[in-house]
Symmetry: C2
Subunit: 462 residues, 2 copies
Amino acid sequence: MLAREVIEDLIKVLGKENVLTEQEDLLTYAYDATAAMKHHKPGVVVSPLNTEQVAEVVKIANRYKIPVYPRGSGTNLSGGTIPSEDSIVLSMLNLNKILEVDQDNLTATVQPGVIIQDLNNAVQQFGLIYPPDPGTVTTATMGGSVSECSGGLRGLKYGVTKHYIMGLQVVLANGEVIRWGGKTVKNVTGYDLVALFTGAEGTLGIITEILVKLIPAPEARKSIMAVFDDVDKAGKAIASIIRNKIIPATLEIMDNVTIQTVEHFVHAGLPLNAEAVLLIEVDGYKEVVEREAVLVEQILKEEQAADVKIAKDDKERDLLWLARRSALPALAQKRPTTVLEDATVPRSKIPDMIKAIRKIADKHKLNIATFGHAGDGNLHPTILTDERDLDEMKRVHLAVDEIFQTAISLGGTLSGEHGIGVAKMKYLDWEFGEAGVALLRSMKEALDPNYVLNPGKIVRRD
Amino acid sequence: MLAREVIEDLIKVLGKENVLTEQEDLLTYAYDATAAMKHHKPGVVVSPLNTEQVAEVVKIANRYKIPVYPRGSGTNLSGGTIPSEDSIVLSMLNLNKILEVDQDNLTATVQPGVIIQDLNNAVQQFGLIYPPDPGTVTTATMGGSVSECSGGLRGLKYGVTKHYIMGLQVVLANGEVIRWGGKTVKNVTGYDLVALFTGAEGTLGIITEILVKLIPAPEARKSIMAVFDDVDKAGKAIASIIRNKIIPATLEIMDNVTIQTVEHFVHAGLPLNAEAVLLIEVDGYKEVVEREAVLVEQILKEEQAADVKIAKDDKERDLLWLARRSALPALAQKRPTTVLEDATVPRSKIPDMIKAIRKIADKHKLNIATFGHAGDGNLHPTILTDERDLDEMKRVHLAVDEIFQTAISLGGTLSGEHGIGVAKMKYLDWEFGEAGVALLRSMKEALDPNYVLNPGKIVRRD
C-alpha cells in the first residue's frame, strides 16, 4: 500500500478526480498487451492535464522514492508498461491535443496521449501523412509509440518512428522540463537527445510534447500478392525486387501456418497449400506506381512464384490487406495464449530465419506461425499456446530463447519494434556483451540515478 | 611536453612509423578548418592500423590521463578537431578500407578514414548512392562526417548523415570495444547508441567501423534557377513549392552579396542586381522529374520570380552548381579571414533570417554574405574579415552572437551541420537552458568520466 501522504500530495497537484485508488481501477492498470507476464497492481493511477503536473508527479515520486510508470493505451508487447506493486501509474491519456499542424515546415506538434490514427486523420486534409503505422495505429498513443520507436508495415520505404521525431519536450527524473530539437531539418546542437529519448521506453524521461515530421501523401498505390511453394524462392524474389531498385512501401510475408489460419478466418482467397505468400504494395507517383507494379509482377514470375495477382481495385486491395492485418487476430483465436515475438534479421536472412523457426517449433512440439515485415527483416514468430499448461510453457520459453539466439547469430537483433521491456532484458548481453549492458546502465543512472522512471525495464539496477 | 614513457608506450603498440613527434609534424595537427581559432600543438600524433590499436591508445591515454583527439581530414568548422597542448592526436586516416558493399541489404561497411566520395564511387557501379553530401565530400572522412552528423545540399529530401547510419563499432573511454545496430532496418534493442554517437563529435567514444544505409541512385534530375528582386518573394516561392508537395533534392539560396562575389569569380551568368537567387534540383523517376520541373517553373513565375531558367543539358546544369559550390571559395578570396556560420531556422523563417543578418551586418559595419540550404533552413552567413584587425574582430564576435540569438528566437538552432565544437559552446544554454546543459554534462561524464575523449568540446567539466 502506498502511504496516505503520497496520495494526498498527488491529489493536491492533480485534484481528486485525476487520482484513482479504487481496487478495480488499479487492477486495470496491472498489465499491458504482453502475453504470459506477471501482473502487478500499482498503488495509484494519476492522469495529469499538463506538463507541469507531470513534473510535479515526478518530483513527488522522487521525494518518496516511488517508481513512476508512464502509460498510454497499454498496447505494449514487451511488458514495458507493467508497473511494480504499489507504484504510481502515470496515464498520459488526458494529454491528448494536436497542438499544431505547420504546412510550411511540414511538421505537427502533439501531446503524448494523441492516438496515432487521429494525427493521420488531422493531417489528411492537407494532403500529408505521418508514415509510421504499427499494427495498433488506431489504439496506441503517440507518446507510447515514440517511447517504443514503433515500426509497422511501412518500415522498408518510409523508416520507423525515430525517422519522424524532430523535437521533444521531456520531464526528466529530477522533475526538470527540457526541450530538444525543433522545426529545422538539420540540427546538430549537442548530443541527439531526441533520438535517445525515442525508444528509451520511458526509462530516461517522460515525453510530454512531440514534434513530428510529415510528408506528402503518395498519389497512388498498387497491391500485389505472390504465392510460393518454397520459402527460399520467396526470399530470392524479395532480394530480386530490391536489386531491381524497387523499394516497396510494404513487403509482407506469411508462412503456411499463418496462411491456413488466416484463410479460415477471413476467406480472402489465400492458397492453403502455399509455403509462403508475399504481399507487396508499391506507392508514390502515379506513373511510377504503374511501371513498378508491372516490373514487380515480372520479377515475381521470373523467381518462380506459383501465382501472382495484382489487385484490380480498392476492394481487391482491401481484401489482401485484411488478410495480412487478420494474421494476429486469426492466430490469437486458436489457442488461449498468443506469444508474439519480433526477432529481426537482415532482409537477406529471412528464408534462413523462417526455416530455423520451423525447426525450433518441431523440436519443442509447438505451434509457431510466422508472418511479418519481410522488407525490413522484422518477423513475428507467433507461438500459439496456453499459459495454464506449465509443461508447454516451459517449452515455449526454450523456443523463444532459441529464436532470439538464431536471430542474433544471423546478424539480427532482439527487437525490431516491440522493445526490450521486461520480456527481453535477460537476452541483452547476448547482443551487446557485458560492456554494452554496463554502458546502458551507466546512461540510465546518469539520467535517472534513483531508478524512479519505469524501473525494471531495459536495464536493472546492478 | 609529453612524458617520454607515454611516447614509448605508444610506440610499443603502434610501431615507430605510426607515432609522430617532430615539431613540424605536430604543428600540422594544431588546427582545423575553423577560422580565427586558437591553435594548440599536440604532444604526439598516432595513426593506428586497426580497432585494437585504437583501444590500446585510449587505454594509455586513460592511464596517464592525457586527452585524445580523434581526427579525420581536419575539415571541421567549429574547432571540434583542435587538440589541447601536449595531447595525443589520433589520426584515423590509416583506417581507410571499404569493408563490404551488401546489395541485398542495401548497406556498406567502412572504416572511419574512408573519404565520403570514395564510398560513393565504390557503390556507383551497383546503381546505389550514399546521399549525405557535405561541401567537403571529396576530402572529409566518413568517421569525421558521422561524428559531426554532416548535412549538405540534399538534406531536405534525403535527410542528413544520421539518417544513414545503421551500425557502429566504437571504442569507449575505458578502452572497451562495443558494436551497436546492424543490417536490420528496424532495431529497438536498448537505447539508440548509434544515434547518440552520431554527432557526438568524438566526445563519447571513438568510431572505428561504420555500417551505412545505401539507396538506389535517382534515374534523372533537372536543375532550375530563379531570380528574385526581393528576399520575401523568394521565401514565398520556397513555401509554395513545398505546399505543392514537391520536395526538391536541393533548394539553395544565395543573397545579393554572394551573387555578386560568385559571378565575378566564375561567370556563371548570375544576375548582379538580384536580391536572391534560388537554385533548385528535382530528382527521381524520369517521368516525375519532368512533371515536377514544369510545375516548379510555373510556381516560381506565379511567385513573381524576375527570371526562371531550366538547365537544358548537363553543361548548363554543371554551371549552375559550379556557381553554388563556388560561393565559399569565391567569398574566401575577398578578405584574409572567412568566418562561416551555420545558424539554422525553420524553412518558413528564411526571409526573416536573411533580413536580420543584413541588419546585423549594417549595424556592425561588416561584410556578411548569406547563402545556404533554403530547403532545410540551414543558412551560411559568412563574414568576410581579417583576424589581424582586432577592432573588426570584436565586431565580428558581436555579430556572431546576434546571429545565433536571432536563429534561436526564430525557433532555430545553433548548428545545422558544423557542430558545437569549441566555437559554439558558450551559446549552448541559450538553446537548452542550464538543465539541458547539465544533462549533456551528465551524459559526457557517464561515458567518459575522466574527460579523455576530445575534451573541451560540446561541454566543459563543471
